[in-house]
Symmetry: none
Subunit: 239 residues, 2 copies
Amino acid sequence: MLWMENVGDEYKNYLQTPYFLENQEYSWTIDGYYDSSSPEGAPSSSASKNIVSERNRRKQLNQRLFALRAVVPNITKMDKASIIKDAIDYIQQLQEELAKTQTEIMEMESNNPETEEQPPPPLPLPLPLPLLLGSHNANVFNSTTSSPIQLLQLKVMPMGDNTLLVSLTCTKRAGAMVRLCQLFESFNLKIITANITALPGTLLNTLFIEADEKEKDGLKMQIETAIAALMDPQSPMTS
Amino acid sequence: MLWMENVGDEYKNYLQTPYFLENQEYSWTIDGYYDSSSPEGAPSSSASKNIVSERNRRKQLNQRLFALRAVVPNITKMDKASIIKDAIDYIQQLQEELAKTQTEIMEMESNNPETEEQPPPPLPLPLPLPLLLGSHNANVFNSTTSSPIQLLQLKVMPMGDNTLLVSLTCTKRAGAMVRLCQLFESFNLKIITANITALPGTLLNTLFIEADEKEKDGLKMQIETAIAALMDPQSPMTS
DNA sequence: TCGGACACGTGATTC
DNA sequence: TGAATCACGTGTCCG
């Protein structure tokens, strides 16, 4: 806890009241640092304005940090830096798990296309996948993320020597590279070599995957469907 | 950017030299505050020890904050408080989506119990939902996420024609590519061309960035610190 | 006693 | 100017 106690002391005055009123007693003079100036009248000595401003800034920053700590489970140390670090790790865990579960859903859907004729009522409606991966939804500002990626070209070719060549071209959108990387990483493929090149307008992607003869067809299908799901439904390729 | 420039100024003294030596000139006497004590001999004036300590603490905290910003997409304002706030919102979005997808998986599985024909693959076993929000603790399976990325080589070189060349080599870890992409996308750089190549053990990254002469130094510093923050602290490069 | 973690007041900078 | 943000040095508390 250490510093939180002090923070608590600080918040005791703030959190309960929307705004702290009259903190003039709070800005007590340290050994008469500032008692001299400003005989009175205009109490804002313009220097102590900065003081209170800075105080509020620190307060807000600590509040936010506190809120962050509340959202992240398993905070080990209450250290400021540790809180941020734990948050980072946690975010990465969430991202990874999300990618995993989503690809899992995709696999299940592709394996059981008949799942659509189930009882309509409960059915939360198998979300359109592109929306899922790209989401962080309710994005007013985030139209970039949800802006569709257009698939320009996709080839998945067996190559002999137990390798599969994937060649992909698509339009470049904000977050496109991230989504592509997440997609392929979530596959848990044996990637021999992967290469992504971003040109001004487009994204080129080439990867060599290790797969024995039996796996190839399955993998090919899997990749194609996953990519198709990630891309714009109106894309020239997916139509 | 605002405050990052100052950070750059701060790092100018750190990143290039393992430790800044002889900061006695740096701890210049403010109107002769501390000039009196410690004639010499023991250079650690015990007061300036605190100064350097505090400096490092601030540095680390900013690094962490920067790393946090790298993990969260769609950072709007570079404000410290805003970074934390965006991170909080993002975490809540992730938690929500994860809960959705996992319940979806559970429903699908309960409807199609035969989908278990794939026990051998990773299949992380859909967690019981209540465990979801609270947990993510001590991930047995997820040691990959926390496995550190080691920075093997980093060069940021001005190139004339208003371009900056970034050449990066690091060890390949799960999520490494995703994190790298997020990092660079979050910069909002004018990327002329980017290229990521994944080899069995390592990750090669080359990008050309458009930046006029004035920006170059700032960008260079910014990138170096961001990368350093993303990488393993014990990495041979960051030491 | 030494070091780590913190809040504080201050000056600088930027818009 | 004026408000906002930051880094800095400092004193203090605690293990």
